[in-house]
């Protein structure tokens, strides 16, 4: 009998992720590119995942993420909320809360014991508390976004960034730089700012252990630590936080075949 494969593609605002699993939910192909919806990113990650898996076709495809509506080759499209919950639950079966921070969305998702999404809350249009906020901070501090975490680890107290708006926070940061604040402390302050936004969101649905962080921002260890300190809860970070949504989509694709 021919092995069946399932593709999940998560087309975000700033990156594209593709995961291919086999019938036993084992990941056989995965590709992530920092190009999001409307770019060549989706096509490239699919090609990359197929190459890694060494296959030429899949049985079913589920698309998720901001660009899911525009992706026409899927058998079904589902929200990243359901897909991140599904992916995280698969990786961490004890998870009851998911904090998913992507390029322009931040979400707190509560998972019921049966694995279904129980409740969720997401940020509004404002980019504060999202990956976009970190991109702005990195640009102002003249560092790569991947360097922010190590930079913040060297911070002592963290400069308070009080603005609720990313644009205002940028101005505030420039003022802090002008006033002589160290960039390490500003980096740490920006991470604490994200953590505070998460606390505000989580207050609406509640945080129940085990709590797992997914999404690209979870790659930043300093943000994860700041969220732990702000919430008073231990945060589990999945090995591949960016791919959790695509994995969930692939698992949903597998469900379509049942």
């Amino acid at each position: 009998m021919t092995e069946k494969y399932y593709l999940g593609i998560d087309i975000g605002s700033s990156s594209s992720k593709a995961v291919i699993i086999d019938g036993d939910a084992k990941i056989v192909g995965e590709k992530i590119i920092n190009l999001g919806t409307g770019s060549r990113g989706p096509a490239e990650v699919i090609l990359g995942a197929f190459e890694q898996a060494g296959i030429t076709e899949v049985s079913k495809t589920v698309a998720t993420g901001y660009g899911r509506i525009q992706f026409k080759d899927a058998d079904k499209q589902m929200t990243e909320i359901s897909c991140h919950a599904k992916g995280v639950k698969h990786l961490v079966p004890t998870a009851q809360t998911v904090i998913d921070i992507g390029g322009q969305d931040a979400k707190v998702i509560r998972i019921a014991p049966d694995g279904k999404v129980d409740n969720f809350v997401m940020n509004d249009k404002c980019a504060a508390g999202t990956g976009r906020f970190l991109e702005v901070m990195a640009r102002v501090l003249d560092v790569k976004i991947s360097e922010l975490s190590d930079l913040a680890e060297k911070g002592q107290s963290g400069v308070t960034i009080s603005s609720t708006c990313t644009v205002f926070a940028e101005s505030e940061t420039i003022s802090q730089l002008s006033g002589g604040s160290k960039i390490e402390d500003i980096a740490l302050g920006s991470h604490k700012s994200i953590a505070e936004k998460i606390v505000g969101l989580a207050g609406r649905v509640g945080l129940v252990d085990d709590i797992v962080m997914s999404g690209g921002v979870a790659l930043n260890a300093s943000v994860v630590k700041a969220v732990e300190e702000a919430t008073g809860h231990k945060i589990i970070r999945v090995p591949d936080p960016q791919g959790a949504g695509a994995l969930g989509a692939a698992l949903y694709a597998r469900d379509l075949d049942k």
Partner: protein, 378 residues
């Protein structure tokens, strides 16, 4: 039974979607002068009894920056839209504007408008918060009489007679009863009307003479009753609460994600017609009594906090699966109600989605994700 002919529905939808043209037509058709009425409640019957045409002023999708001179960024979008439209001259066809004082923004906007649009005759009206007490009732009666007298002067009208006012109250109660029948008929055939059609049929009432609107609405209700019920097994029935459920782009997402509205607690919709006063007393006494009896509204003091239970009752009555709470951004009175309602809905185990919207929003991706995720959950 048969397929629903939507000609009458489409006519009212077009009226609701083109307010300025619709009001101009109503002025032309009736020969009446129009009086703009701010949210949430105004003494429309008294305005009508003066031979005038009350017109709803519930904002719109207008964008611009003229209103920024008077209102801060984080301000109710209905007030911003009304002010923007006033400054654009869209209200030139109104002979007076009644401005209420149900929230802090409204309280301040009265003075703003006197300065910003001096050509419009601004008539303030203050409803009592303690509307059930004898003194509250006496105050509201006096306030309606004062406003009526001011309108007589501003627009140049003779005082209405008791017969005029009683007839106007009868007409408005007929409109309210017809509206109740309409939403009931829609709720009994989920999926027959789109969310946008349901909303705009109700909204058209704001831009028409009730003597013209009510027969059209009754005809639509009869057509709905005679139409085949669509297959609704894949639809999720919802009750919507909040001030307004706009713009149309948002309503389209309801349909796209498989939600059908079977009831509402919206200030712009059902709250306008769900309370009908007993037919006892003079016209003005019936108007006062109706406001005294109106419960479950964020803008009217409610010491018993009945709104949550009223929404739960509506969910049970309509067989709804879930509740949408559409929080119009920066509306304090609605925000104050939400935590109480949320607690009660959770206790009743009714799935609830809270969304924040603005009338001027034109990007719906995040809202789509919220609605779709909610559909995936329930």
């Amino acid at each position: 039974m048969g397929e629903l002919n939507k000609n009458n529905i489409n006519e009212l939808v077009a009226i609701a979607q083109n307010p300025k043209e619709s009001v101009a037509k109503a002025i032309n058709d009736t020969g009446k002068k129009a009086v703009g009425c701010f949210p949430i409640y105004t003494p429309d019957e008294a305005i009508y009894a003066l031979g005038l045409l009350p017109v709803g002023m519930w904002g719109g999708p207008v964008k611009g920056n003229l209103a920024d001179k008077y209102l801060q960024t984080f301000c109710c979008s209905i007030m911003k839209a009304n002010t923007e439209q006033a400054l654009l001259g869209d209200y030139d066809l109104l002979s007076a504007v009644l401005v209420t004082s149900f929230c802090d923004t409204l309280k301040c906007i009265i003075e703003d408008w006197k300065v910003a649009v001096p050509y419009l005759h601004i008539v303030p009206i203050v409803y009592p918060q303690n509307r059930k007490t004898p003194s509250g009732r006496a105050y509201l009666k006096a306030e309606i009489e004062r406003v009526s007298a001011q309108l007589e002067q501003v627009v140049g009208r003779k005082p209405y007679t008791e017969a005029d006012l009683s007839a106007a109250v009868d007409l408005y109660d007929e409109y309210r009863a017809a509206s109740q029948d309409f939403v009931k008929a829609v709720s009994e055939k989920p999926g027959l009307l789109t969310a946008s059609e349901r909303h705009n049929v109700i909204k058209a009432a704001y831009f028409m003479d009730k003597a013209d609107y009510t027969p059209k609405l009754k005809a639509i209700t009869e057509e709905i009753k005679k139409a085949d019920a669509p297959d609704a097994k894949n639809l999720t029935k919802v009750v919507v609460s909040g001030i307004i459920n706009e713009p149309d782009g948002l309503l389209d997402i309801f349909d796209e994600t498989g939600f059908t509205i079977v009831g509402d607690d919206l200030a712009q919709e059902t709250r306008q017609f769900r309370t009908i006063a007993p037919k006892v007393g003079t016209g003005i006494e019936r108007m006062v009594e109706r406001i005294a009896l109106q419960d479950g509204c964020a803008f009217l003091y409610d010491d018993k906090k009945l709104r949550g239970q009223m929404i739960i009752d509506l969910v049970k009555k309509t067989g709804a699966d879930a509740v949408f709470f559409n929080q119009l951004k920066f509306c304090d009175p609605e925000e104050f109600d939400w935590p109480i309602i949320k607690k009660e809905l959770e206790a009743a185990k009714i799935p609830t989605l809270y969304i924040e919207t603005e009338q001027q929003m034109d990007s719906f991706e995040q809202t789509r994700t919220r609605l779709q995720a909610f559909a995936e959950i329930i």
